[in-house]
Amino acid sequence: MLDLRHLPGSDLQEKQVFVLRAHLITLLPLLMTALVLFALPPGLYAELRVLTPEFFDEPARVVVLLLIISAFFLAGWLFLFQSFINYWLDMLIVTDKRILDIDQTGLFSRTVSETRLYRTQDVTAEVTGFWPSLFDYGDLFLQTAGEAERFHFKNIPHPNHVAKLILDFAEEARKQALGEAVEEFGMPNKEKK
């Protein structure tokens, strides 16, 4: 469960609706890279054993090889960890008051875009391509009142369903915001001509 106190500019009365990250299938290229990375040292070891067995005649060489392999594994593991962090910290958060798009572009680089839920005017889901159609993921574009630029969430799972949910929540938020405005300022008087 998400702790909303950790969100930028959190409001204590805010309630979380959902948190979305890119579809897990988008991690597949990373997993393939990891497999290749971790298969390289055993492959190198086997190749040396077969092609140049004299390499292992001197134990000191094996020690150096071991240190290199160990450093390689550690570097690969860190690369995986940081790629995972990029995936994990990239998220779309919808609360009952606002929508946050957190875009992690590097370990120390992130952009947080935020819009009030009641300002949402139009949500477009876009699923293009074989894999996105097969696994039902795609991009979500969100147009808000007074903003020329659209919010863009990439590789969201079930984008059509999410688009509908956001529109429903936005409608609810608009009603609530209107109710609060009426409560505070009263109903506007319509003067008769």
Partner: protein
């Protein structure tokens, strides 16, 4: 001829820098990854992975005589 100590020291320096990078990465994840089981589990898994590699390497290198001299190029020159 190079002493094996040189390689050990280079590896330890690498390990020191690596630890700094790992801690910074974990800190970023825990700070911005919003508290949840997934965040803690991922951090734990990655730390366990690092510990396994370091401890495994340490165990394999325990009995090494680091004062040995090595000529890396003798093997390359054989080709």
């Amino acid at each position: 001829m190079i002493s094996l100590y040189v390689f050990l020291i280079a590896w330890l320096v690498f390990l020191g820098l690596y630890t700094i990078m790992l801690l910074l990465s974990a800190l970023q994840l825990l700070r911005f990854g919003v508290s949840g089981a997934g965040t803690y589990l991922a951090t734990l898994v990655f730390f366990v992975g690092v510990i396994l590699v370091v401890v495994g390497t340490g165990a394999m290198l325990r009995s090494v005589d680091w004062q040995q001299q090595i000529n890396l190029f003798s093997w390359i020159n054989a080709f």
